[in-house]
């Protein structure tokens, strides 16, 4: 009976946190954010070095054989740093293969993902109301697929797509294959650019998914998005504290005005305790599968909603400066906007939780 992180998990976070602080400080993040490519090969390669690319991949395929909780802990730290890069899509696509691929497919696909030789990304959402397996519409004829996916992050960077098909199966697609059109979609979050991807008779490997587990992928996504959002929100609190202490008005730091102090205290009370919430969701995914789907929905809705609120408060707390492109706040503000809307809004997840709760 222990609900805390292991020393290894603490160390994992510390390692990546240290790396992020050294290699992707706000100054560097700003360059990448303004450039808008949402990727820095050096950062990603370093993460691959640290084993992030194959964190959940079985050791036999060159991974670290860890669980979703560990992945969520990494997501938290990357959210804290608003680190650009293909982590989210890659991690989820990889998980998808683990969940739905048969032995042969895993053997064929996973090693290159774990080693970082291939970057993968997730292509399952088609529109604001179409992201669950039951609603996917991309058609498969034999080993060729046709249809359209929206909100595919790092599509142009990736080597492979994991694509959701009508009927709820998943397909593995080489991004160099025929019949693929990629259009930039001008996403709100410049640390993770998104595209629309169209398939027209594109050759694909259909994953076996004998137990129909594709929905687990949505659960995992909700949890990682919540973890990333939690990290981003804690970072915003730090930015607010630093600003409130340094900014003077009426001859004193604004932190001394109760209105400011209480805004920060309320924000903290909204966010800090929710650390345990995403831990639990991840743990449930790994060990309490009966609770997992509903928990993931409650958690994604709660954390992204509270964080979005905190993000608006953060802009206001920074006054006019908070409203500028120059102010750091917007980089996390927009990352949270994306996390909140991607793969199910709080409202959609709450309605889902209500249904699963038999309400």
């Amino acid at each position: 009976m222990d609900f805390g992180l292991s020393e290894e998990q603490d160390m994992l976070q510390e390692t990546i946190r240290g790396f992020a602080q050294n290699e992707c400080p706000t100054t560097r993040l700003r360059e990448l954010f303004d450039a808008g490519e949402g990727h820095d090969p050096k950062l990603w390669e370093a993460l691959v070095e640290m084993g992030v690319a194959g964190l959940t991949v079985p050791e036999e395929f060159g991974g670290a054989g860890m669980e979703l909780l560990d992945l969520a802990l990494v997501a938290e730290v990357l959210g804290e740093a608003a680190m650009p890069g293909p982590f989210l899509g890659h991690a989820l696509a990889t998980l998808g293969v683990q969940i739905c691929g048969d032995a042969g497919q895993q053997k064929a696909i996973l090693p290159a993902l774990a080693s970082g030789e291939h970057i993968a990304t997730l292509a399952i959402q088609e529109g604001e109301n179409v992201f669950a397996p039951g609603d996917w519409t991309v058609k498969a004829e034999g080993d060729r697929i046709s249809g359209k996916k929206a909100i595919v992050s790092h599509a142009s960077l990736a080597d492979c797509f994991l694509v959701g098909l009508a009927g709820g199966k998943l397909a593995w697609v080489d991004t160099k294959a025929d019949g693929i059109t990629i259009e930039d979609a001008n996403g709100i979050d410049r640390t993770r650019p998104i595209s629309t991807v169209t398939f027209d008779g594109t050759p694909a490997e259909i994953l076996a998914d004998s137990d129909g587990n594709a929905a687990r992928l949505n659960e995992a996504a909700a949890i990682l998005l919540a973890a990333d959002t939690f990290g981003a929100a804690t970072k915003l609190i730090d930015l607010n504290v630093a600003y409130a202490l340094s900014r003077e008005q009426f001859g004193q730091p604004i932190a001394q005005f109760q209105a400011i102090k209480h805004t920060i205290a309320r924000m903290g009370t909204d966010i800090e305790p929710a650390r345990a919430l995403f831990w639990f969701a991840a743990h449930a995914f790994d060990h309490l599968q009966d609770e997992s789907e509903r928990t993931a929905s409650v958690v994604k809705a709660h954390i992204t909603d509270r964080a979005m609120h905190a993000a608006r408060e953060s802009v206001e707390l920074h006054g006019g400066y908070g409203f500028t492109w120059e102010c750091e706040v917007q980089m996390w503000f927009k990352r949270i906007m994306f996390n909140r809307s991607f793969l199910g809004t709080p409202e959609q997840h709450r309605e889902r939780a209500a249904q699963l709760g038999g309400w």
Partner: protein, 402 residues
């Protein structure tokens, strides 16, 4: 992270369950008055090491090695069996830990055993009309005359003072010393001449709290815990225990469960309210807060368990504001579900049960009660200051005094 119990603890739970088959009592014992039955069973619990585990045997405890998980297993199993366990009275819950930390040998021997046995009831004398959130400004005075303290002044918000034999409280004994340094922690028999208890009626109509008036009330000089002027420091010990009582998510989980039942029972446009899109959203949103508090509590529990309290220092500070706000969300939602029945006042039956009913009138009572915690033990504004200052290192408010 592992939510499974160890082999030892699984075993332990089985043993506890076995023991709990002994409750309710049977045969002749079952004929005794319920208080007597509880006393008997509690004694057995002490013998087995399930009750008063942190209290030395010499004072009537069972003096068990600390094991938070066993503590929790005991709490859970006794709760399920509705069996009598450690008294949750102010005496057992707040005074005893304080005496164990600061009391002298004589005080421990004299007060702890009868308190644990439920033979001596205590009330807490902290708040005063003029000193709410600014507790240290308290004025109720105790003057040492020969070998007696002579007490004059007033306390307020003293719950269950009517039933108490004794009061532990804070009194100003050193009028010339600085605010905090002038306070002592005294123990006062409630039957002392010059001590008068007046029940305080709440806006809900119930009577949970009291005012206590002191007019030249004389108690032995020995009835002081620790030294003169150390009362503030002594009382901090108690407050820690109190804070934890308030933070506990159990109350929220219960209230949320009741709320769901209410939403199923009430109708909206002819259908159960829980089928209304807006109500579903609101309920699911509230569940987010309730489960945050549950899981955060697990996290804090484990941290305490591992001796890593520091890691969860902030969430711990936030428990009170968080649970207060969440209870208010629950009660506001319930009040809206009650809808037009909000024109009715609570009945006496609801008052007796503190509104822990699922009648609409009971909920209305809860709607009014739910403002209590925002007030009790330091208004939320003070809590927010603490979080901002101790949690995030923000500067203290400017004070006239500064």
């Amino acid at each position: 992270m592992d939510l499974e119990y160890s082999e030892e603890h699984v075993q332990f739970r089985a043993t506890v369950k076995e023991f709990l088959k002994g409750w309710p009592l049977t045969g002749a014992e079952a004929e005794l008055p319920i208080e007597e039955q509880e006393r008997i069973f509690r004694k057995r619990g002490i013998v087995e090491g399930y009750v008063y585990r942190a209290v030395p045997k010499q004072y009537g405890g069972s003096e068990q090695p600390h094991d938070a998980i066993k503590d929790q297993i005991i709490r859970e199993e006794f709760y399920l069996a509705k069996a009598p366990r450690d008294l949750s009275s102010q005496g057992a819950g707040l005074l005893v830990p304080t005496l164990l930390e600061y009391g002298n040998e004589e005080q421990k021997a004299k007060y702890i055993p009868p308190t644990l046995a439920g033979e001596q009831n205590w009330c807490q004398g902290y708040s005063e009309p003029g000193s709410g959130s600014d507790l240290a400004s308290l004025q109720c005075q105790a003057r040492l005359e020969g070998d007696e303290w002579v007490i004059n002044g007033q306390k307020i918000w003293t719950s269950s003072a009517q039933r108490a034999h004794m009061m532990f409280g804070l009194f100003r004994t050193e009028p010339d010393a600085k605010k905090h340094a002038g306070i002592s922690y005294l123990l006062i028999p409630m039957d002392t001449p010059g001590v008068e208890v007046r029940p305080l009626r709440e806006m809900s109509g119930g009577y949970e709290f009291n005012e206590v008036f002191f007019t030249d009330a004389r108690i032995p000089a020995a009835n002081i815990v620790a030294e003169r002027g150390q009362g503030w420091q002594v009382s901090r010990a108690t407050l820690v225990h109190e804070r934890n009582l308030i933070g506990n998510p159990f109350m929220m989980r219960e209230a949320f469960r009741d709320l769901l039942e209410l939403a199923k029972a009430r109708k909206k446009n002819g259908r159960p309210a829980i089928e209304d899109a807006g109500v579903r959203q609101r309920l699911a949103e509230i569940e987010g807060y309730v489960r945050t508090s549950e899981t955060s509590n697990m996290m804090q529990f484990t941290a305490g368990n591992r001796g890593e309290m520091a890691k969860t220092m902030r969430p711990m500070m936030m428990n009170k504001v968080f649970s207060t706000d969440t209870m208010q969300r629950i009660m506001k939602c319930a009040y809206d579900l009650i809808g037009g029945d909000g024109v009715y006042g609570p009945n006496d039956a609801d008052l007796d049960t503190w509104g822990r009913t699922t009648t609409s009138r009971g909920w209305i009572l809860q709607y009014m009660f739910s403002m209590g915690p925002a007030i009790a033990g330091g208004a939320s504004n003070i809590q927010l200051n603490i979080i901002g200052e101790r949690g995030y290192g923000l500067p203290r408010d400017l004070r006239k005094t500064s």
